[in-house]
């Protein structure tokens, strides 16, 4: 097997990917089957019938006309998008500033490096005191967790641009501001999108952890309550939804990258 040799046929990697997913699902149902042979009333590894029941439960319409999944998805996704969006805007400003201007690099880099090492989940109590338990807290948590990492990624991507490219931009009549947004930003755009893609997972971790502790609605809150009741059919269904959202966002960002950065050599 030669390292990094690509497949000749396009369908092969897709088929192999599908096989891996089916294997995982198959393994789950095998474990569930074995568990139910030992204990037919088991709820820790639900069967497909139990999962269907769990699905019906989370999609059942309450007397207020709402469903669990609807309520929780709305709350969690709202917090997630707002948190990631604000992190990206902040990271862009910080990362580009650090990468482009020596004064701002000297000023911001140490703070950024320090904050990047602080796990936001450990700061939960601080956020709780500073912002209360409403949406602001969840967003602050995501912003605090993601901004140092994304801005460092952007900073490193800017630093990788050869100085010759920047000097040339000046000889073409550009001023520093124009060079930042017309040249440097466009050159690091693929790295920015990749960094956001990689941040979806951590963002979900921070949000779900916060919702588990102080939430009164949302995926984290529901998973905590239902796992205490050992309603694993609901928990697994929620996990499947979380995985789907994550996958969809990743796919969307990949698509955006392919549209905006079609110039990038594959």
């Amino acid at each position: 097997m030669i390292i990094r040799k690509p497949f000749q046929e396009k369908w092969k990697p897709i088929l192999i990917g599908l096989i891996s997913i089916f294997l995982m699902i198959g393994l789950y149902f095998f474990m569930s089957f074995r568990q139910h042979e030992i204990n037919p009333k088991d709820t820790t590894i639900p069967t497909i019938t139990q999962l269907m029941k769990g699905f019906s439960k989370i999609t059942a319409v309450s007397h207020r006309g709402q469903t669990w999944i609807g309520q929780d998805s709305k709350a969690t996704l709202y917090r997630l998008f707002l948190g990631i969006g604000m992190s990206v805007i902040l990271s862009l400003l910080i990362g580009l500033s650090m990468g482009c201007f020596a004064f701002l690099e000297a000023f911001l880099l140490p703070i950024n490096a320090l904050l990047a090492k602080l796990p936001p989940t450990a700061m939960l109590a601080v956020f709780f005191v500073l912002t209360g338990t409403d949406t602001t807290m969840f967003i602050a948590m995501i912003v605090f967790g993601l901004t140092p990492t994304i801005s460092q990624n952007i900073y490193l991507a800017v630093k990788q641009i050869p100085m010759e490219t920047i000097y040339k931009s000046y000889t073409l009549g550009g001023n520093s501001f124009e060079i930042v947004y017309k040249i440097i930003f466009k050159m690091v755009l693929p790295a920015i999108i990749d960094s956001i893609r990689l941040s979806i997972g951590p963002a979900m971790v921070y949000l779900i952890a916060a919702e588990m502790v102080v939430g009164d609605v949302g995926f984290g809150y529901r998973i905590r309550i239902q796992s205490r009741l050992l309603n694993m059919s609901v928990v697994y269904t929620y996990l499947a939804f979380l995985a789907f959202f994550g996958f969809f966002m990743d796919f969307l960002l990949k698509y955006i990258k392919s549209r905006l950065c079609s110039w990038q050599r594959t």
């Binding site: 010759e164 490219t165 000046y170 000889t171 073409l172 009549g173 050159m187 990038q264 050599r265």
Partner: protein
């Protein structure tokens, strides 16, 4: 008599050194003598006239690229001045075009966009682009037309919409030259531009420079600014072939008469070079004798004579 306005670039008494402090040479808190200074250039004086194609050669590490960076304005000299069109240059500007060995094209733009972006940045600004989008669009169209014409002249008519990664080395370098030429800079600096190209492509690009030189007369008659080019190269044949004047820098000169350490490289050779139209056969003999002369003056460590011996360009020019 040379008109003052004909001098595009003047390097006046340029000296440059690098600070390379080595902890091993540190005694207490003091530095031992001036050991931390790596002297690169010493008292370099060059005047480039409008319409000239000057080749700058010299042994490795003699400061050719340092001098080029000083002229470009990215690394101003620690002593002396670079004067471009009458004003001291201390930062890169649109008056100095640059073409690097690594092409340095913008990877997210096609060939035509790479060439047209210069005038766009130069003739418009953020405010005008934001508040006058229609006017900007019109200007953009004009710049694209000019860029297409220029690329077509350089033989890239079929690659207007190709991204840099879709082009060969030669095509990328020609695009980089077009990118610089569209700005009509006072001087175009080429930093070992053909070093990474194969022989055939290199010859093609060398012919392109000769074609530009040949266009100078026509440009003068049309009232346009002729192309002034300074090319840094380590290939002596290339230097003699594409330029009408060769300048050599070297640290091998008789500095030891007055100093303990070599004060740096200086101009040890400045002489006209024969110019041949791109399609005319070259006089190999003339090439060889000039090549040997440069080798002796700049590359031979045993030949440490006065730096004035081969500096005959101005004498010849003023006598003619």
């Amino acid at each position: 008599m040379i008109d003052k306005n004909d001098i595009v670039v003047e390097c006046k008494n340029i000296s440059h050194w690098f600070d390379c402090r080595d902890d091993n040479k540190k005694i207490g808190n003091l530095w031992q003598g001036n050991d931390f200074r790596k002297k690169v250039l010493y008292d370099v004086n060059i005047k480039v006239l409008r319409g000239e194609i000057v080749a700058l050669v010299g042994p490795s590490g003699c400061g050719k690229s340092t001098l080029l960076k000083a002229i470009l304005g990215t690394h101003p000299p620690l002593q002396g001045d670079v004067i471009i069109n009458g004003s001291i240059s201390y930062k890169p500007s649109r008056h100095c075009g640059i073409v690097y060995q690594t092409y340095s094209l913008f990877p997210f733009l096609t060939a035509i966009e790479n060439v047209a972006i210069g005038p766009l940045l130069d003739k418009t600004n953020t405010v005008s682009r934001t508040f006058h989008p229609f006017k900007t669009q019109e200007m953009k169209k004009t710049f694209h037309k000019r860029a297409a014409q220029l690329l077509d002249d350089l033989g890239l008519g079929n690659a207007l919409n190709s991204y840099p990664h879709e082009m060969s080395g030669g095509m990328r370098q020609r695009t980089a030259i077009a990118q610089a030429l569209i700005m009509e800079p006072e001087i175009l600096l080429l930093d070992e531009p053909f070093g990474a190209l194969d022989e055939t492509t290199r010859e093609e690009c060398q012919r392109l420079l000769l074609t530009l030189y040949m266009q100078n007369e026509k440009r003068r008659n049309e009232g346009k600014t002729p192309y002034t080019i300074l090319i840094v190269t380590h290939e002596l044949s290339e230097a003699i072939l594409v330029s009408d004047r060769v300048i050599a820098l070297s640290q091998h000169w008789n500095w030891n008469n007055n100093s303990q350490d070599c004060p740096g490289a200086t101009v040890v050779y400045d002489s006209p070079a024969p110019v041949y139209p791109p399609d005319v056969e070259k006089e190999i003999l003339e090439f060889t004798s000039q090549k040997n002369e440069i080798k002796k003056a700049a590359f031979d460590p045993k030949y440490c004579q006065s730096r004035d011996i081969y500096n005959k360009y101005w004498k010849l020019l003023l006598n003619s």
